[in-house]
């Protein structure tokens, strides 16, 4: 053999194109072929789709690559690929062989799967082509760099849980039931109380345009994860530029607005959490007294409404002191947008109140 087996190459390409493919999927593909699936191009496409493609976007990428692959692979017989790997496995220590055989038999994954396969693939593609080892690399594209991942954000939002007992009585209250038993001498009926339901409502105030333009994706992510990951009773998102005037905007295009007063009227002192996302001047490093004063006025109206407030700043902490952010920080709990910063912000929202 002078190059990596064709299916392995295809899987590597798909993986570089962004599909969620790992080495066990390649193994799955080989097992399927051994089982008699995918023996002609249409069938192979079907098998690959079932194994690798789970979204519309991925489907489009896959279709393109697969089309090209068929053309390039020509008359290659894919059924041989498994045989090739089995042969390669024979050249390795016995335990490795056994693990490989077991993996191919029932696909149960064990510790060391990766190592075993890496060994075999290394032998199988003795040209040492990088694709053969591509599965073990972790590809991080710069576009994906974010200080907090979506999953972490969702977890943070879920921690913001302000629960109260609401709704139909369905939960067993052991304490009260036991007291009743002691009083009456017999157990007849359990005492049920309503479940604790999350009453937290989130209001997101996002600073957009100008110095905040580079953080647009981050803000969008915060907004989306709050809606789909948090278990809030309600999430409202509003936009502003540099300072919160009497008006907040309901869309980033600033086409429609709402007086701040109205927003605050529909909040609850116990359960509404307001999260402001803004650099507070730290991105440009400027100190603007008018901006600081306007912000303070705004924060005071929040305080009067009694809602919980925190400020999230996408700019790292060390740059705050030389700008308006350093001053605003004295009036409101301000946190970096990092894993730790968000943890702390949520903790502050749960524990403390402004005003």
């Amino acid at each position: 053999m002078t190059q990596a087996p064709p299916l392995l190459r295809l899987m590597s390409e798909l993986r570089s194109a962004g599909l969620p493919i790992d080495i066990t999927k390649y193994l799955l593909l080989l097992r399927a072929i051994e089982g008699g699936f995918g023996l002609d191009p249409e069938a192979l496409k079907s098998v690959l789709r079932a194994i690798c493609v789970h979204s519309e976007a991925d489907a489009r990428i896959f279709n393109r690559r697969f089309g090209r692959f068929l053309v390039e692979a020509g008359a290659a017989t894919f059924a041989e690929e498994t045989a090739t790997l089995r042969e390669a496995a024979l050249e390795l220590p016995r335990e490795v062989q056994q693990t490989f055989t077991r993996l191919m038999t029932d696909g149960s994954e064990a510790v060391g799967t990766e190592q075993v396969l890496r060994h075999i693939l290394h032998v199988a593609s003795d040209s040492g082509e990088p694709e053969a080892l591509a599965f073990t690399d972790v590809a991080v594209s710069p576009r994906d760099y974010m200080p907090v991942t979506r999953r972490q954000m969702r977890q943070n939002w879920r921690y913001l849980r302000l629960a109260a007992r609401r709704g139909a009585p369905v939960e067993f209250d052991a304490h009260r039931t036991l007291s009743k038993i002691l009083r009456e001498g017999a157990f007849v009926d359990p005492i049920l109380v309503p479940r604790r339901v999350n009453q937290a409502e989130l209001v997101l105030l996002l600073d957009v345009h100008g110095s905040m333009s580079p953080f647009r994706d981050l803000e969008q992510r915060l907004s989306e994860t709050a809606v789909d990951g948090g278990r809030f009773k309600r999430v409202r998102t509003y936009y502003f530029h540099n300072t919160v005037d009497p008006f907040v905007m309901t869309s980033p295009a600033f086409t429609d607005g709402l007086p701040l007063r109205h927003l605050l009227e529909r909040t609850s002192a116990s359960y509404t959490a307001v999260v402001i996302v803004s650099d507070a001047g730290a991105a440009r490093g400027s100190q603007n007294d008018v901006r600081v004063e306007q912000t303070r006025v705004f924060l005071r109206s929040l305080a009067r409404a009694g809602v919980r407030v925190v400020w999230l700043n996408p700019v790292p902490r060390e740059r705050w002191s030389r700008s308006s952010a350093g001053l605003i920080e004295r009036s409101v709990p301000m946190f970096e947008i990092s894993r730790l910063g968000m943890d702390r912000a949520i903790a502050a929202l749960k524990g403390k109140r402004v005003g």
Binding site: P20, S46, I51, H54, R102, V188
Partner: protein
């Protein structure tokens, strides 16, 4: 020593789903559930067979009403396998699928016994021995538990998994891979003699975790093309009158195309199941329905198909207006 793979492979390759065996009209299964014919796409058939052979869960995605959940019953019917259904709700926890231990009933029974004895000191106890209050009598297996205990390999449908919270799919992942679980209260270990064929459906309301997605095979249940829609209707209703069938399908497609063009997007489009329900109603008086469909833009019995005000306005024709009012009441003035 290599584990002999022949017997297992043989059993598995014997299970080959073709999508050609349909239940007779009006049939019910052993649990009394109605059985419906199912016309799968070739893609779905392949996916099902892969899932059976590779022993991986099959994740079905698609619009509501397009027959994701029914696919599991179709497979179970053709291959003559027992079917267990686990319908997921927002409050479902992984443990619920395994078993439920009714501690309160146990406490109450023991308490009741004690009260009865104290009221009737010399009399016969209602339960013969303390053994009757043993924990194992109060264990009720859930769908996963039952499918593990089955004597034959069965089909396990985990329906609408995206309704549960974000950790749920990963919790059940461990469950399904281990193929056994302990019943804490009795110390018994339930092991799957024959791991079930697992079908998971999702309405895409929430994203599913990566670890879970990596474990599954995928298939998309797409909205059927006109030819398949016709085949589905024929399979459900025998041979409906040709004129009625053709006009109903055309009218249905018009509505659907309009909904697809709707700029507000994300709107719920009429689905296969609604078409089937509509057809059922139309067939009650086929001649009248065929006439009604022939004239103008009207839709007889619109409430079966149409769930939104905007679509009702579209459907309102000379006869549709009256029909619409009969279903919804007079239109309000100046609806904002």
């Amino acid at each position: 020593m290599e584990r002999s793979k022949e017997p297992l492979a043989q059993e598995l390759t014997e299970l080959r789903y073709t999508g050609t065996k349909q239940p007779p009209l009006g049939a019910v299964d052993s649990d009394g559930r109605r059985l419906f014919p199912y016309i799968p796409t070739p893609e779905l058939i392949d996916a099902a067979n892969l899932a059976i052979f590779l022993q991986r869960p099959l994740l079905l995605r698609g619009e509501p009403g397009c027959g994701k959940s029914l696919f599991a019953s179709a497979i179970a019917y053709e291959l003559n396998l027992p079917l267990e259904i686990w319908s997921i709700r927002s409050t479902t926890r992984a443990a619920d699928g395994l078993y439920i231990y009714d501690a309160i009933a146990r406490l109450r029974d023991a308490q009741f016994e004690a009260v009865m004895r104290s009221l009737n000191p010399g009399g016969q106890p209602s339960r013969s021995s303390i053994g009757d209050f043993e924990a194992r009598h109060y264990v009720r297996l859930g769908p996963v538990g039952r499918s593990f205990q089955a004597e034959r390999r069965g089909v396990l449908l985990i329906d609408e998994i995206d309704k549960a919270d974000i950790d749920f799919p990963n919790d059940i992942l461990d469950l399904l891979e281990n193929r056994s679980f302990p019943i804490e209260e009795t110390g018994e270990l339930v092991t799957a003699k024959h791991p079930p064929v697992i079908i998971v459906t999702s309405n895409d309301e929430k994203e599913l975790p990566e670890a879970f997605l990596r474990r599954c095979l995928f298939a998309n249940v797409a909205f059927p093309d006109p030819a398949r829609l016709e085949a589905i209707l024929r399979a459900h209703f025998g041979e409906p009158p040709a004129a009625l069938l053709e006009r109903a399908l055309r009218r249905f497609q018009e509505l659907r195309s309009r909904q697809e063009q709707d700029t507000y997007g994300g709107v719920k489009k009429v689905s296969t199941s609604e078409l089937i329900d509509w057809m059922r109603v139309l067939l009650r008086s086929p001649a009248g329905a065929a006439d009604a469909l022939a004239s103008g833009k009207s839709y007889p019995h619109p409430s079966v198909l149409i769930k939104r005000r905007e679509d009702l306005e579209f459907a309102e024709g000379p006869m549709g207006a009256e029909a619409g009012e009969a279903d919804y009441g007079p239109a309000p003035r100046d609806a904002l």
